[in-house]
Symmetry: D2
Subunit: 304 residues, 4 copies
């Protein structure tokens, strides 16, 4: 057994002295106010002890990390019918996301890019009575923690400025791949992105994906086969245009968000969450990417 | 001098017996109600007599033909400052219009594609006190005819279903190339498209472009140099993905609309307007395109 | 009647003092040796006197200007069958020429981009017994001048370095839109581009396009309808990604080459040829573009 | 311990009765002669017994599967310098492979698409004295089997018809990302693709990737870190436009070839090779894909 606490602390110390932490996201004005010096890590071992270092107990905006949780919820509700409306291929395309959607007749490449997550949001809005309340409760149940909330200010901030998301939703609508009103779907989507958790909570929320489907509370929401598929999607598509790079250097399924959080996991072994708000030029947490690369290299723990 | 009335009548008769008139546009539900058998032509000669055949006195929705008139209005207001926000190149791209906009950082290819016309609409909304009223008056003045109106039903119909235009406007907004509220700009845009005129009126509205800038009423709104540029843009960009085909077969600057109208003109000579609601697969009036090809071939009147 | 000699001389003098003449093309090593200070103009009036200024009697590499002449030759041989293998639309695409070819299954956008000119070259190689000799004789006959030659050094230079043309030819071949051997077609193509003429000769070569099909020698090679179409193609597609800009500012059908030559013409009126080897960033002669804009603005002679 | 022999036999029997086996590749004429009824599987367990079923001892053309082996060879020779010339991201793009190369200035998306493999071939041609002999010996050593050969007929067949590869190589050359002569690089590339092995041999050749770098002979050619990266690349990029689908359904790193072979592996556990020449519409072996999906679903053996 490796000394995880020492490893976490050592890598954290090395990186914490780095001056260039990338840039905090400013396109959502409310996110720009976060202190860039925060840097937390939480390692949540399946059937084992947990380890943490830095600001792992401060809540942050999970943003796109939420897409994995809404995907899980949608699979639980409608199963593989999802795949008639969204594909499972990496988008591989930094420069023209809407173009791909146009070329492929409104079928998003995968559920972890924005267009795909909007289709998932549309499914949840269709299927659930009180979509926002239900999603929050689902995540609280997964995490076994009732102290998880939307940040209404962040949701409203994105509602005012998220023009690319409005563009994507309207394009989906024009292809008939959005059943509900654009405004309703986006309201749900901006709320899911605004959810706040700390590193510890987030590691608990993703615990089921490392634990063959059984969540912190002991329930199972998805079959083992579905768990495998969600993990595969994170590996192929979880890091925007840097998915290949993350697979290549880190070698774990994972998902990042512009709030600076990254979740990664080794099936049957652990979930690890990092949080540092500064982003690299591809929009992923700079210190988080670096932390995870060093962590899997030193521990030799990866799926490959 | 050629016998234009005989030529118009002969070509009209040949084509009127054609059974396949293409498909009336249905994406704006209100447009789908038009009788596909209408087929009018109006030839408006500079300093000369006029000729007409068929339903040249029935009003129809001018739709994209309006883009030339709003462009003229905007040039009159802000001059060449327009070209900082929209380019003058053909789009040449049937399959991914929004993608081009993305790749080119929100600068539309030209003012006659939808994205470009939205930028022009945004300029007019910024510059004019009562944008819709002002535009209508401008067109009435150009035409010297007060009996020109918006069709509110058509405007509302497109407001409910024009998702691709909402997508384009939001994408422009995300690149900072739309100054006003998306909803306000689109309301103006849907109204400009809903304007109704008959072939005779429309030929009068475009008379200034064949008459070195002097409109029906005798006023000049644009310099000769600007007139030349608007005509050049119609030639390069007036027929969506069939601009080259129209230049090649017809050889006149022109503009089509999904209402089935086409305006074309020979500088210093004439304006000709055709109207037949059935469209070919590129979205241009099937009989109109054919009429104009035969007309310029028989009369040998073209810019080339 | 305007004083053309004075107008030519005045604009030439204004521009000749300009220091930034753009960059001489270097991608064909042999072209890089040309003296950038050359700047000739030749105005060839239909039924009228000719005018010239600067180095209008020095031969230069006509390069892509040759595409109009091979297109005419091919139309003369196989007529409208050409259009089954090449389209007539502007490419409108600075950044991914081969991609368009891929997306559109090996049908080039038009005969004036490289891929389209390769298809035309392939037709000539199929139809002619001695393709290179025949083409040279055809151009000598059009021009009524036997003193026109290939520059073998330039042809060989491009044969060694024209990798993008090899890529395009092989891509065409993979789609079955090249009937002959890639090497044979490219040998013909590199030779057609290497033809040298001076401004006066080149204006004579294009005289038939301003003179309803009748060339300098008095023969007619093409119908009036075909002449109209070739002129339309030059207007839509003659200036790479600056075709719209040229139509907009100059308002004449024309064609440029990376050797720094530009031919433009007003049907029934004149052919004008400019030569200045420095290119703008789109690959068109910087002084030539500027000269023609000023010339058509001052004389008010344009098709629009 | 699961009864692998029974599992292999059962799935093989189920699938062998399937009538639609897809289409044997015909674009390389020599490949079209293979009997579509062949269907072999070989399971090679790390430190354990092996299992096989069907025609696992008949040699077939490994084609693109060879790209993993040349990549390994190149990493062994020049290490991470490779990544200056080729990226590690999925291409995600079925429709315009050359376009991506154009847009990204001649840097192929990854070493497992053709353009990337050509860059790897170029590196080997630069680094090795007798590139073809050396590669063959390298693969024989990895496999611990001297009875592995090029199929000269297949290599020559592709040399005559592989126009898309000529196009890609010339495009790379135009961007300066091919150092050697196009013909020399393609000759090497067509030979590497023509290598023939049976399922058993191929599983031995890939054994080092499941065995932390130690090959059948006991040597190590690559570090553990490099092994992890090659496996990650196979997962992200090994199945053309179906990489996401393979990760999603099968959940193993793998690589397919148009000869109908697929190699997949679970680190520290096994290499499995399937061979059935009929391809699905994405160009991957139809029965092979299906076999592996059923195998990993039944055995619950995957990296996720």
């Amino acid at each position: 057994m490796q000394d995880f606490q020492a490893i976490l602390a050592a890598i954290h110390a090395e990186l914490d002295s780095v001056i260039d932490r990338g840039k905090v996201a400013t396109y959502i004005p409310e996110l720009a106010t976060v202190d860039a010096r925060n840097f937390g890590v939480y390692l949540n071992c399946v059937d084992g002890p947990n380890f943490h270092v830095g600001q792992s107990d401060l809540p942050f905006s999970i943003q796109s990390v939420s897409k994995v949780l809404t995907l899980s919820r949608a699979i639980g509700l409608v199963g593989d019918a999802i795949w008639e409306r969204v594909d499972v291929e990496p988008s591989g395309n930094p420069f023209n996301h809407l173009s791909l959607l146009e070329l492929e007749n409104g079928i998003p490449r995968n559920p972890l890019i924005n267009a795909g997550a909007l289709v998932i949001a549309d499914i949840l809005v269709s299927e659930l009575k009180n979509p926002k309340d239900d999603l929050l409760q689902y995540i609280r149940d997964l995490t076994d923690d009732q102290n998880i909330h939307f940040n209404e200010k962040v949701a409203q901030s994105e509602k005012k400025t998220g023009f690319k998301n409005y563009a994507a939703a309207n394009l989906l609508k024009s292809f008939g791949n959005l059943k509900n009103d654009v405004g309703v779907v986006l309201d749900f989507y901006f709320h899911q992105c605004s959810i706040e958790m700390n590193c510890a909570q987030l590691s608990n929320a993703f615990y089921y994906l490392a634990n063959r489907g059984t969540c912190k509370r002991g329930n199972s929401f998805l079959t083992e086969s579905h768990i495998k598929r969600v993990n595969a999607l994170m590996l192929s598509c979880g890091f925007y245009d840097e998915a290949g790079e993350f697979a290549f250097k880190v070698g774990l399924p994972g998902k990042s968000g512009v709030g600076g959080g990254i979740v990664a996991l080794l099936p049957n072994n652990f979930v690890v969450v990092t949080w540092s708000p500064g982003l690299n030029e591809k929009g992923n947490s700079l210190l988080g990417m670096e932390f995870l690369e060093r962590f899997t290299t030193q521990t030799k723990l990866s799926i490959f």
